[in-house]
């Protein structure tokens, strides 16, 4: 009898949700044939069978959330006896009771055994590290304390997970939403003739983003510093660069790209802002900028990451940014596209929002919120003139940064955008 397990597709993945089974119990399955569709915290993926055989038992229903590496089905010969434990956790294929979702808890994790020393386990517990993520260097690849400590230092910032990004299939949502109509006859006191509402489940990407936001707000003391800047020179520069960029790429050079570019270089000057929490008592200051961009994708908030943004020309940055946005909107992100961010920019300018307080994308320590470009009367050399103004909102984690740190960083960004010439000086620094 062959076990089918919930795949572990990313370092940080702990659970996977079964979206749909392609095969019924008793169906013949070929090796390589899709068996079911699984939603992880990053992507949806088809799980293929590794073997030929009959799908003997499905242990979980569609919609069930299962710990990674847990057995979810058995494939074998038609008359092979099923392992005993499958009987206990088995969820009848045609039952549709929500209680069946509790079934996974009855099952002992099967394949999560890791060879690790007690000391390694103790350290991992303390640092909140999953041993399945750690490579053991001891005899028999046993994980030793040193391995966990090395992992703790080197783990990518994403390992505490970038937010967001759970792609949810609209089908799932629509299936689980249910409308309730209250008939006034049931309640004669009701004033309105017909009251109705919809129950929307809090789950999937919505829950993931929501929970992360709640955690960030409750954990990180947020302070937002705001600065309104005159970006006429940047707009002028953009106007001159635009034809060049368009000639060489299909991408359109947006003001947002200019902001990304300026921010990436400002972060290089302020490594304390380009930082992530490694553990409760350690911060990593990154020497490269991996810039996350909050994207309102149809399925929810995603934060694709432009890796090594500090090394990219404005051309490359523009192209990468537009590709990532496209991928996010099409739902074709690869897990890597969402991992490893060291700083995030959220732009609500297109919605006419002038200023807002963004929530930090933990484990990062700051986030830049960009408002819309608005022409405003300002005073320049004693005269009232009209200038294109942009509001920058920097929320920072006051555990890691102080107001002055954040203000200095924002000042650098502001300088680069008010006088982009400085950016070229910075490039050579």
């Amino acid at each position: 009898m062959n076990e089918v397990t919930m795949p572990k597709l990313a370092m940080t993945q702990e659970m996977g949700t079964i979206l749909q089974w392609y095969k019924r119990e008793g169906d013949w399955v070929e090796a390589g044939e899709p068996l079911l569709e699984v939603m992880t915290n990053k992507i949806n993926i088809d799980v293929e069978s590794y073997v030929d055989g009959v799908l003997r038992k499905r242990l979980y229903e569609e919609g069930a959330e299962v710990p990674v590496l847990n057995v979810i089905a058995y494939i074998g010969d038609a008359d092979e006896p099923l392992p005993d434990e499958s009987v206990n956790v088995a969820v009848s294929a045609d039952s549709n009771h929500p209680e069946t979702h509790a079934a996974p808890h009855l099952q002992k994790p099967v394949a999560t055994r890791v060879r690790a020393t007690p000391a390694a386990r103790a350290v991992a517990r303390k640092l909140g590290i999953l041993l399945t993520d750690v490579q053991g260097t001891g005899p028999n690849n046993r994980i030793q304390r040193e391995d966990v400590e090395a992992f703790a230092i080197s783990r990518p910032s994403c390992s505490t997970a970038t937010p967001a990004e759970r792609r949810i299939v609209s089908r799932t949502t629509s299936q689980t939403e249910s409308s309730v109509h209250v008939n006034p006859k049931d309640n004669p006191m009701t004033a309105t003739p017909l009251d109705s509402f919809s129950r929307v489940p809090y789950r999937g990407l919505r829950k993931m983003v929501g929970d992360r936001m709640a955690t960030s707000v409750s954990e990180a003391p947020h302070v937002t510093v705001v600065r309104e800047i005159n970006v006429s020179q940047t707009i002028e520069l953009r106007r001159r660069l635009m034809p060049m960029v368009e000639e060489q790429t299909s991408a359109h050079l947006s003001l947002n790209t200019m902001v990304l570019f300026a921010t990436a270089h400002a972060l290089m000057k302020h490594p304390n802002v380009n930082a992530t929490w490694a553990s409760k008592d350690e911060i990593i200051e990154h020497h490269s900028v991996h810039l996350g961009m909050a994207v309102a994708a149809p399925q929810g908030l995603l934060v694709p990451v432009i890796h090594f943004a500090n090394t990219l020309s404005i051309l490359a940055l523009s192209e990468q940014a537009s590709q990532l946005v496209k991928k996010a909107r099409n739902g074709t992100m690869a897990p890597n596209d969402l991992e490893g961010g060291t700083f995030t920019i959220s732009n609500l300018g297109m919605f006419g929002i002038e200023s807002f307080n963004p929530i930090i994308n933990l484990p990062q320590v700051a986030i830049l919120g960009v408002g819309s470009l608005i022409e405003k009367p300002i005073v320049e050399n004693g005269n009232i003139v009209v200038r294109p103004m942009l509001t920058l909102n920097l929320s920072f984690d006051h555990r890691v940064l102080d107001g002055a740190d954040a203000a200095k960083f924002l000042q650098t960004v502001a300088n680069y955008l008010t006088c982009p010439d400085e950016l070229f000086v910075a490039l050579h620094a």
Binding site: P118, A119, T137, Q144, R145
Partner: protein, 327 residues
């Protein structure tokens, strides 16, 4: 301070106590003019006379029985076994009488006696004269078991053993008799149940007693050249055992090896390893606890085979290297 041998330290402890305390006497086979199988009691009959240095018939059961009887009536006998292997003949007296009487009489009687037992291999004395059966005795509640590793410890521990109101099995290692150490001339006592850190180190805790302490120290010097710092804990007494010192060392090093000459299977080192695994040091273990013990064979007479039957310095070095090794 002067240097004397392990053998001299034992003789000195007995003699000094006997000068102070008339209740103390020694008995055993050929311990008089001949001075005992290893010459430990040589010269004592001249000083203390045949009343207090008593030659006995060749019957360890009788020697033990006589010692227990004397102890019960207020004496503090020290009996000598020519070879610790012969404890098997004295076993009924020791296990069923000496160990039990204090408990069975509700503390109204006690058996303050010492069994001196030369043990271990390395002299070509073969299967019946080279064993290390200390685990047999350590298993029995009511008996204390001591295994001194050097002349200093031997004198102080023997004094404590004689002063103890319970039967104490005092294991002397034949190969240690001629080893020397600084030993104070005056009498002193080393409490039973107090381990000694024979060498401080940070990488591995090596627990050993008796002759294995010497071998461990030599191995530790070699390992230090590879940058491996071995901490050597000598519990000195198996019962009572100072597990606290061992556990606190393992908590620091994260690794524990136990070396003993006795047959590995069922040896006392297994008890130490188990206690460590059960202790709060568990969460600090960064490698499996290992035991090095004797092979599961009677000790061969051939010197070369005899060498291979028990852990040697190179075995300790290799085992610790493996323990520290990366995959």
């Amino acid at each position: 301070m002067r240097e004397i041998t392990y053998q001299e330290a034992i003789r000195e402890a007995m003699s000094q106590v006997m000068r102070e305390d008339e209740r103390v006497f020694i008995l055993g086979e050929d311990i008089g003019v001949y001075g005992g199988a290893f010459g430990v009691t040589r010269g004592m009959i001249e000083e203390f006379g045949p009343e207090r240095v008593r030659n006995t018939p060749i019957s360890e059961a009788a020697i033990a029985g006589a010692a227990i009887g004397a102890a019960l009536t207020g004496m503090r006998p020290i009996m000598e076994l020519q070879f610790s292997d012969f404890v098997t003949i004295a076993m009924d007296q020791l296990v069923n009488q000496a160990a039990k009487i204090r408990y069975m009489y509700g503390g109204k009687a006690s058996v303050p006696m010492v069994v001196r037992a030369p043990g271990g291999s390395g002299t070509g004395a073969a299967a019946q004269h080279s064993q290390s059966l200390e685990a047999w005795l350590a298993h029995v509640p009511g008996l204390k078991v001591v295994q001194p590793a050097n002349a200093y410890d031997a004198k102080g521990l023997l004094k404590a053993a004689i002063d103890d109101n319970n039967p104490v099995i005092f294991y002397e290692h034949k190969l240690l008799y001629s080893t020397k150490a600084d030993v104070p001339e005056e009498l002193y006592s080393i409490p039973l149940g107090q381990a000694d850190i024979k060498r401080a180190g940070s990488d591995v805790t090596l627990v050993s007693t008796g002759i294995m302490v010497q071998k461990s120290l030599t191995a530790a010097d070699l390992l230090a050249k590879d940058g491996i710092q071995v901490e050597i804990i000598d519990p000195r007494t198996l019962v009572p055992l100072d597990i606290k010192t061992i556990v606190s060392s393992v908590k620091r090093t994260g690794r524990c090896a136990v070396v003993y000459e006795a047959v590995k299977r069922g040896g006392y080192g297994a008890e130490i390893a188990s206690l460590v695994a059960e202790s709060e040091a568990f969460d600090f273990l960064d490698a499996p606890i290992i035991r090095l013990g004797g092979k599961e064979v009677p000790i061969p007479q051939s010197p070369e085979l005899e060498r291979h039957a028990v852990p040697q310095v190179e075995d300790i070095v290799e085992a610790i290297r493996n323990m520290m090794q990366k995959a």
